[in-house]
């Protein structure tokens, strides 16, 4: 952990701040949530690393998708994700968001979460232990360092195709597109 290195702070304050101030929009989408309370409380204490839960998507920059995603939940996830301000990182917990996990044949859970929203970090396991969550977070730090935690940029770049996938599943989503114009990428970067 390079949080105490002043030189790095002077060199790239934004990335450093993004790394060590991950405010999580936690949203119990599935079983994975059961390991979140231990992570944020006395035994593992994620607040040591600046990770803390916030109430609304507007305030956060880390979106934890904790487990399998049912259709109804996916809609809420998309809504929440779109309401978060950039830069934002998503971490998916457990095997189920990766490929459906043990619900691979369920009619009501989606199988590949990254078809609908971009995911920056995956934590495999059913369910991931708190230690695995921390490993996931350090991995996310590395990604941020290297500039590869770019899910939000990918989302704006490929918004049309994400939106198409979402609409294939839900028909009308009930809210207007996040990037309505023709060239969303430029707008997002501006």
């Amino acid at each position: 952990m390079d949080r105490n290195q002043l030189a790095k702070w002077l060199k790239s304050p934004v990335e450093m701040a993004n790394k060590y101030s991950l405010h999580a929009v936690y949203f119990c989408t599935g079983c994975g949530i059961i390991e979140i309370p231990p992570v944020i409380t006395a035994r593992w204490d994620a607040e040591r690393f600046g990770i803390k839960a916030v109430a609304t998507p507007r305030q956060g920059n880390l979106f934890m998708i904790t487990g399998y995603v049912s259709l109804k939940t996916l809609k809420a996830i998309i809504r929440t994700y779109e309401q978060m301000p950039d830069p934002k990182y998503t971490v998916a917990f457990g095997s189920c968001p990766i490929n459906g996990g043990m619900y691979w044949d369920s009619y009501n859970t989606i199988k590949h979460l990254d078809k609908y929203i971009p995911i920056d970090g995956w934590i495999a396991g059913c369910m991931p232990r708190p230690e695995a969550v921390f490993i996931g977070v350090t991995h996310l730090w590395t990604l941020i360092d290297k500039g590869k935690a770019d899910g939000y940029i990918r989302y704006s770049k490929n918004y049309a195709s994400y939106r198409r996938n979402q609409e294939m599943l839900f028909g009308d989503l009930g809210w207007p597109p996040l990037y309505p114009s023709e060239s969303p990428a430029e707008e997002a970067r501006a």
Partner: protein, 618 residues
Amino acid sequence: MLPTTILIVAFGSAGFVYLAGRVHARVRDTLAVLSSLVLVGLIGLGYGAWREVVYVPDFLGLELVLRLNLLAWFFAITVAAVVSLSTIFSLSYMRRKESANFHYSATLAVEGAMLGTVFAGDLLSFFIFWEIMSWSAYLLISCNRGRALEAGLKYIIMSLVGSCAMLIGLLAMYSGLGVLSIPLVAEGMQAASPGFVLLVLLTFGLGFGIKSAMVPLHTWLPDAHSEAASPFSAVLSGVLIKMGIYGFVLLMYVVVGLKLLLGVGAGWLTFRHILCWLGAITVVVPTFIAVLQSDAKRLLAWSSIGQIGYIILGLSFGTSLAFAGAIFHALNHALCKSLLFLAVGAVEHNTGGVRDLNDLGGLAKRMPVTFACALLAGLGLIGIPLTSGFVPKWLIYRSLIEDGYPFLALAALIGTWGAILYVYKLLHNIFLGQLPEKHREVRRAPLSMRIPILLLGLGILVFGVVPGIPLRAVQDIGHTFGLAQLKVTLWGLGSEAGALNMLNICLAVVIAFAAAFLLLRLGAKGRAVDQEDSYAAGSAVPVGRYHYTVDFYGPLSRMISPYLRDRADEFYYWLAARGREIADLTRKVYTGYAGTYVLYIVSFLAALIFLQLVWHIW
């Protein structure tokens, strides 16, 4: 000759406007606006030209006098300004309304009567103009029919009670002193017995108390203010109830005089103390009743009563600071409350007559100017620094604290916190939050509505930053009444301990604002979103159902509403009912049979003869 000219212009234009309305609406509008503006100009020109004019040399042996001095001018310019702005506002508000002709002409007549009241140099003409004012206001209040009729009736009955009391005082004064000219009366009062002084104070005080809606004489006000047409509500609340305040000033500081006034009563139970405490109650109770209202104009009406409380508190406290605060607050309240009534009127006009606070919302984006000015006026009512409301309230508090009346100061301060509640409720429910579907088509207010609102808002800001302008006039008025001179500077009060300097505060706020703004600009750029893009726990926002308005202060209202009944109003209704019963009883005397009447006459005569024989009274 100036006061006479002003009055002639005022009443004359009232008549002409009505006639012009018969010809063409546009002629009427132009004439009304022009004459109201001319009146402002005339009064403005009269500054410094203090004089007395005898306009009826012999009325039953009395001289009727008009006089122009600083006090009269101060009130007159306020009246003229507010009425002229209200008239401009009416251009759109009253368009295509049946009663427009009457509205303009009666408004001008009310203005004339108010100007006459403040210019009156003797109590008889004061009373005459007072009555003209009451009656023409009555006609205007009940102009809307329906519930307005009832409201008007309530108003005029209470006004009549007040007028009767005043008439009694007037007659007593005439029989006791033989003069009615104000300076002569004041001289005569110095030699009068304390009982006589008390009689004068009570009778006139009742009349002025009813007009200025002091608790417990306030009950006409909420109905009348909410039922009148909005431009007239602004006049009613902004300046008409200030005539009661003018009356109090006249009564306490001119006719009776401060020295005599402080001597009325004994120990803690002095006239001044009682009036102070009435003022304090007037601050607290109506303020919290206002918090519970859900009708915009009714909320403002109750708030008017609360704000009048400050003025009465300051006036009756009687130190130079408190007096200055009271008179300044009268001006501040005239500005703020007229603005708020006009703003609510504009909203009402734009939304097709909606003034239910639960049915509006999100209009700030549609009517930005109206909102900004209403916000300013709301802050002025609260007394936030840099609005004209701050300095007068500060003066009153400071005077109360330094002279050792912390409980009165507490009442005044709590009233302020109550004011925050209702001001925010009003602004939030009308202008903030989500715009309901049915008001999507609302456009901004027409120019003729925005101009008066803007001007009033400007006034609030200017008098807030440069309180020295009105404060100088106010302290000069106080000085003529023998109050100690204040060290007024352009930016506040002079350099004694606990001084006030608005320039410092203003500069500090401006610099701090600039600093905060710079800090904001340091951050990444924002992205504007639509109102539908709002946090709803992961769901889409339900259209038209996503605005928190109903029962805005629920926990508080559940807690205090059992204690906040309008007991005075209930008492008057009880009194009216008893009165009707007694009247019923007397009616039974008249049976309609000739025989009964004969019986009455015979028994009356018999009684007379009996008395004559037994007691030899005469």
